[in-house]
C-alpha cells in the first residue's frame, strides 16, 4: 500500500506509523459527560469500507495526517495534514 503525504508526496506504507481512528482530533470537552467520554476513549467502528485514520509520516517529514481510505478496495481517497483539519474544525 502507498499513502500520500501532503508534504512529501506518495510514499511506501513502511514510512508511516498508524495511530487509528481520526476521532482523536475531536476530543470532548472535560465536562461532556461519562457517556461521551466512554465513546471517545473506548468505542470504535470497524467498517468494511471507508475509514478515516490518523497516520504519521514517521520515517519522512514527521507530519501527522488524516487519511481516508477504503479497507475493502485499498483505495486511498484523501489525505490531509492534521494541523490543517484541527485549525478548521476545532
Amino acid at each position: 500500500m502507498r499513502l500520500i503525504c501532503p508534504v512529501c508526496g506518495e510514499r511506501d506504507r513502511r514510512e508511516f506509523y498508524y495511530m487509528g481512528d481520526a476521532v482523536a482530533l475531536q476530543r470532548p470537552e472535560p465536562d461532556a459527560g461519562a457517556a461521551e467520554w466512554d465513546d471517545y476513549v473506548h468505542l470504535r467502528e470497524n467498517p468494511a469500507g471507508v475509514t478515516r485514520d490518523l497516520w504519521q509520516h514517521e520515517a519522512g517529514c514527521a507530519a501527522w495526517i488524516v487519511v481516508r481510505r477504503n479497507t475493502v478496495t485499498h483505495e486511498v481517497l484523501e489525505s490531509v495534514l492534521a494541523t490543517d483539519l484541527k485549525g478548521a474544525s476545532a
Binding site: C8, D12, R14, A59, G60, C61
Partner: protein
C-alpha cells in the same frame, strides 16, 4: 586527580578532547563502480521557523529558504517546517523567529559516489532516486533499510546520506553489504 585519569594525546595529557568522526575507522570502502566515504559536515544547526516567521528568518539570514525536498546554498529542507543549515553562522538574533538546535556531530554524513550508486540505493531506499525524478539539489526524508535517512543528490553520480550518529556502524554495514551484493551480480 592523577595523570592516569586525564585525557592523553600521545604521551602527554591535554585539555582538548580528541575528535572522533561518526564513521571513523570504518571508511572509505569501494566495490564495483561505487565508493562510500565519510563527509565532514562541520557546524550544523536545524532551523524551525515559528508560525508565520519564515519571511523574517529569510530576511535575517539574507537568503531564501528552499521548498520542500530542495536545497538552497547551505540550507537544506530537513523535515516538515524544518531546515538544516550546514557550515553556516547562525546569528543569535535568529532565535526570535525560529527554534534553533545545534546538530553538529549529531549526524553521520556519508557520500556514495559512482556509476552504480543509484543501483545500490535502490536496494535500500523506498523512493525513486533516478536522475529523471531526483535531480541534483533534490533531497528527501525517507529510510535506509530500517533507519531514518535524509538524502540529497549532490552530483550526477553522487549522493549525501545523513542518519543519526548512533547508527553510523549499521549505516556503513547496510550500504557496504548492498555494494557487495550488487557487485556479486555483475
Amino acid at each position: 586527580m592523577g595523570l592516569s585519569c586525564m585525557i592523553r594525546k600521545g604521551v602527554r595529557p591535554v585539555v582538548e578532547l580528541l575528535a572522533k568522526s561518526p564513521a571513523e575507522g570504518l571508511l572509505p570502502y569501494a566495490k564495483g563502480a561505487v565508493e562510500l566515504s565519510e563527509l565532514a559536515l562541520g557546524k550544523a544547526a536545524s532551523i524551525a521557523p515559528f508560525k508565520g516567521q519564515l519571511d523574517a528568518v529569510e530576511k535575517a539570514l539574507g537568503q531564501g529558504f528552499p521548498k520542500v525536498g530542495r536545497t538552497t546554498g547551505h540550507v537544506v529542507w530537513f523535515s516538515q517546517g524544518q531546515y538544516l543549515a550546514i557550515a553556516m553562522d547562525i546569528p543569535d538574533a535568529l532565535g526570535k523567529y525560529a527554534a534553533i538546535t545545534d546538530q553538529s556531530d549529531a549526524w553521520c554524513a556519508l557520500e556514495l559516489k559512482g556509476a552504480a550508486a543509484e543501483d545500490v540505493l535502490a536496494r535500500l531506499v523506498p523512493i525513486d532516486l533516478r536522475q529523471s525524478q531526483f535531480k541534483r539539489g533534490h533531497c528527501a526524508r525517507t529510510q535506509l533499510g530500517h533507519m531514518p535517512l535524509h538524502i540529497t543528490r549532490t552530483g550526477n553520480d553522487a549522493f549525501r546520506l545523513l542518519s543519526f550518529r548512533s547508527m553510523a556502524g549499521t549505516m556503513v554495514h547496510e550500504i557496504s553489504r548492498a555494494m557487495d551484493l550488487l557487485a556479486a551480480r555483475r
